[in-house]
């Protein structure tokens, strides 16, 4: 069955092959193999970009296919990052604490260990107590479950409330944005239990692999990200290609018609919203160990809007468009803002791209919306059509 699915959707095969080739190439050129053409930090950037591509694919499904312009998917991404970050930070601190307690006259009790860990983690926010949300932080398995469950449940409850009362269109966008804002404001508080605006840090240190070099760890995460992107792409391509795809595209184009055909539109929206939220969270859980730090600023509403920008520039309603958009814009953005782009001297004024990149992005986004509503992916379609 999978064979026939791939046979019917050759673009999926092309994409997976390109992704595999890319992964292989990056691995060969990385510091881990000794060739070291690509620095470890650049490998991390590429790995993070793959995660961004994955959330962009999810965004494309919920927006490009189902017509729900969610301005909240980066919140799910961030929650996934927080969930894995809690375990990383706990386990890492536990290692350090156990080392420092080892030299004492009496062996430490579990309570003393947990108090010491709490002190280490929450000292910055003037506390040493473990908040209840850290109840599972000591277990990798449970915390991995949290990566999926917490954002999934939030999406389920929020989506159920919103879709049930038939909030649609821009209202829904504003509502999802409000949800994101509320979440980030909540996390900014010191007593949120997640270290306020300090966020979680040191996530690049993987407990149990203290002796492994970052060059190797970065490649492992790069592989994991590539695998997640590949599987996610396959999964969503499968969802949108069949009858499910028909129904959700139908919801996008004419919700009432689908409803009068007897489909319970709200369930479908909820399904798509939740499943994409979960995939976003998984992308986040892979992203933040590569970024090393997560703080509430990452969840701010603006991030989710950028996500929409990537998908729009890449081209909605085609999964590879989302991947292209996310990779292209986020890499370009780090090139411009990282000072990589050369300044443009105009004689009377010199354009520094660190200052002017956002202006350029903003206006080019307007241009894309006005003149290329199908984005970069639309160009591909044109090429394909010419050949045919």
């Amino acid at each position: 069955m999978r064979n026939s699915f791939i046979a019917q959707n050759p673009s999926v095969l092309w994409f997976l092959m390109a992704l595999a080739g890319f992964t292989l190439g990056v691995t060969l050129l990385s510091e881990a193999t000794g060739i070291a053409f690509l620095s470890t930090s650049f490998v991390k950037t590429l790995g993070k970009t793959l995660c961004l591509c994955l959330i962009a694919v999810a965004m494309d499904v919920v927006w490009g296919y189902c017509g729900i312009l969610s301005l909240g998917h980066f919140a799910f991404f961030g929650l996934g990052g927080y969930a894995i970050g809690m375990w990383l930070m706990y386990a890492r601190t536990e290692v350090i604490v156990l080392e420092s307690l080892a030299g004492q006259a009496l062996p430490a009790t579990p309570k003393e260990v947990s108090d010491a860990i709490g002190n280490q983690i929450f000292g910055v926010v003037g506390s040493s107590e473990f908040p209840w949300i850290w109840a599972f932080a000591d277990s990798l398995f449970l915390q991995l479950l949290m990566v999926v469950l917490v954002p999934g449940l939030l999406a389920l409850v929020f989506g159920w409330l919103a879709f049930r009362s038939r909030v649609t269109g821009v209202y829904l966008s504003i509502l999802t944005q409000a949800m994101t804002l509320a979440l980030s404001l909540y996390l900014f508080q010191n007593d949120s239990g997640l270290r306020g605006n300090n966020g979680l840090s040191g996530l690049q240190n993987i407990p149990g692999f203290e002796d492994t070099s970052q060059a190797v760890i970065s490649i492992v995460f790069f592989w994991a990200s590539a695998l997640a992107l590949g599987l996610g792409y396959l999964f969503f391509a499968w969802i949108v290609s069949g009858k499910m795809g028909s129904v959700i595209k139908g919801i996008r184009d004419n919700e009432a018609r689908v409803r009068f055909l007897g489909y319970h539109v709200e369930s479908y929206k909820l399904f798509v919203f939740t499943i994409t939220a979960v995939v976003s969270a998984i992308a986040g859980a892979l992203y933040y160990p590569q970024a090393g730090i997560i703080n509430p600023g990452e969840i701010a509403p603006i991030a989710s809007i950028y996500l929409a920008v990537w998908v729009a520039i890449g081209g909605r309603g085609r999964l590879y468009g989302a991947v292209i958009g996310a990779a292209f814009v986020s890499l370009l953005s780090s090139w411009f803002t990282g000072g990589g782009a050369p300044s443009v001297p105009l004689g009377f004024y010199t354009i520094q791209w660190t200052d002017w990149w956002l202006v350029l992005l903003g206006f080019s986004f307007v241009a894309v919306t006005l003149f290329f509503p199908k984005g970069i992916g639309g160009l591909f379609d044109r090429l394909v059509r010419k050949q045919a």
């Binding site: 499910m244 595209k249 004419n254 009432a256 018609r257 007897g262």
Partner: protein, 249 residues
Amino acid sequence: MSTLLEVSGVSVTFDGFRAINNLSIQFAEAELRAIIGPNGAGKTTFMDIVTGKTKPDEGTVVWGERNISLLGMSESQIAMEGIGRKFQKPTVFEDQTVRQNLAMALKNPRGPFSVLMHKKTKTNAARIEAIAEQIGLADQLRRTAGELSHGQKQWLEIGMLLAQEPRLLLVDEPAAGMTVEEREKTTDILREAAKTRAVVVVEHDMEFVRRLDCKVTVLHEGSVLAEGSLNHVTSNQTVIDVYLGRGHA
């Protein structure tokens, strides 16, 4: 003939405007019925109430042998009960092929998970082809719906309703914007469909109604003004007054 749908004593008010006023109307199984009336007579609102889009202020809407109340059910539940609705403007999914449009409408489990796990079967394909034949789109199955002509879109929508296998079909102005030949074909499709189910056509166009050759209900200011054959109702003085007095659009 047994009663399929019974609407009684229904009223609905929008911002003080009484769109439906103590309306009572019944449909039998396998019946073709035309509903006519001037603008603002409440034809579309009546359909909205039956299909669950609008909740009436008072009255009852009872369905089927088991006398289920349709009030309080959602649009999709009502559709699953066997009421199909065609909109005034043709609403097909223009981005998708004719086959996909029909496949989506085909009577099958409607839950997200059964849809996700749905597999194409030969029976389904045969059903799609039979319906395509019925609506005259058999050779258009692979085309994108957006490329169809206006009339073909109308037929496709009717075809989608037939694919739902409803027991009651509500059709809103199917002939609007059609050529003469297209109208004839539409009439044929509807009359054919009415042999096995109830079909209710809301129409402005008297010629089209005449061609349907069925029982006619005249709505005026939200309630039934007259009922009977077309000749019977058009000879009714109040009906003439209503149409001529208000200027027939």
